[in-house]
């Protein structure tokens, strides 16, 4: 069996007294789209943020393409990695946030070319040429000179995707990428993500877009109260939800007109 893109082993996370992730075990296969679904507060965003080491797991290990992320284990002892070690492992990951998190003082092109210049050390011209190629990919080359405040939410999120792609990561993480958008703007972002999936990008997507999970996802993980209740293909998960908690969860979507899924 080939090495998974991400492997999560016995990961727990607590915030104070609350256990938000309970002993999660998960392998994210390469070249597939894995969707994390579940009700609010189920821990799905926290799990995703642990995969980028934006949250530190309280226990357990996460490996990115076989390399320990954030913590290394040596002689059974857990040691926090240095900033440089962390940056190296993280370079395989691109992260897209619910709130876009574009840098407001830079144009779209500036946002996308930043890491090419500062991390890769490319000159301005080459960095901007490569950044422009990413903006073309998300269909925003005409908006390169615009500041985030001059872009719609959907456009901002597409710039954020281009920024995350700039350093050519092998894995893309999406944290509710369309939740902050007007319904009519979600389509343009989902289309970019669909195109990325078609290219074979490994993607982990926390989403409430059940339709996207069903049509683009290769795997669906259902979390509830910090537990990974199950993990299966969308056909199995949505066509015949056997778990009462999942059935209840999906019913809330049926109310919102997602009947075609069943």
């Amino acid at each position: 069996m080939t090495q998974p893109a991400i492997s999560v082993r016995n990961v727990s996370k607590r915030f104070g007294d609350t256990l938000v992730l309970k002993d999660i075990n998960l392998e994210v296969p390469r070249g597939q789209v894995s969707c994390l679904i579940g009700p609010s507060g189920s821990g799905k965003s926290t799990l995703l943020r642990c995969m980028a080491f934006l949250e530190e797991a309280s226990a357990g290990m996460i490996e990115i393409e076989g390399e320990a992320l954030g913590f290394s284990e040596k002689d059974g002892k857990r040691r926090r990695q240095t900033a440089a070690e962390l940056r190296r492992t993280r370079s395989k990951i691109g992260m897209v946030f619910q709130q876009f998190n574009l840098w407001p003082h830079m144009t779209a092109l500036g946002n996308v070319s930043m890491a090419l210049r500062r991390v890769r050390g490319l000159g301005r011209k080459e960095a901007e040429a490569r950044a422009m190629a990413q903006l073309v990919k998300v269909g925003l080359e005409a908006r390169a000179g615009h500041y985030p405040s001059q872009l719609s939410g959907g456009q901002q999120q597409r710039v954020a995707i281009a920024r995350a792609l700039a350093l050519e990561p092998t894995i893309m993480l999406f944290d509710e990428p369309t939740s902050a958008l007007d319904p009519e703007l979600t389509g343009e972002v989902l289309n970019v993500m669909r195109a990325l999936a078609d290219e074979g990008m490994t993607m982990v997507v926390v989403t409430h877009e059940i339709g996207f999970a069903a049509s683009v996802g290769n795997n669906v993980c259902f979390l509830d109260h910090g537990q990974l209740l199950f993990h299966d293909t969308p056909e199995t998960v949505f066509a015949a939800p056997r778990h009462p908690r999942l059935e209840q969860f999906l019913d809330t979507y049926l109310d919102r007109g997602a009947q075609m899924l069943r």
Binding site: L54, S91, M95, F97, S149, R163
Partner: protein, 219 residues
Amino acid sequence: MSFDFAVILAKAPQILAGLGVTILIWVAGTLLAAILGFLVATARRYGGRLADLVLSVPVEVIRGTPFLVQIFLLYFGGPYIGLRLDPIAAGLLGLTIYGAAYYAEIFRAGFQSVPPGHSEAADCVGLTRMQTILHVQLPEMALLVLPPSMNMAVILLKETALLSLITVPEMTMTVQAIGSQQYAFVESIVVLALVYWALVELANFLGRLAERRLSTYSA
């Protein structure tokens, strides 16, 4: 009794020399204070809990005592611990330390104003902590910290008048000396007030100019 400004204005070259010292100490002191304050704020935010605690002490002490008391301690108390400074050096150092305590608080608020997600995005594309501070956080907070920073610069300008009390040959000391030599005390004070005011207005003008330049990207 009539005002006679002519006797003051006849000493214009001396006044200009004093003005020069005032501007030198003010500009250099403010810049150094801002840099030191920024370093303190950065160390308090990223240097761990101990650095935050240790650095909070001088910041609180300096903000909690009068500037006059601080420069007296520095200039007259310094020699007891082997710190012998000439008046201008003591004045510049005093102003820098005093201003830095306030700038540290201004930049602390500045760091807090940058949404954590913007730094997380920088972490995720591999920027180092230093690059994130310089290329993301500092420019993002600039518009927010500019008004209080300019306000602080104006306060520091006016505090330089107190340096006359440790014999720094700045404008207040110069003009007061002329006033008493010429028996034109009130006139000298009026001239002094006008020059300070003019400098403050100039600083405010430059501040507004900078604000307008920085606000190009905000909607």
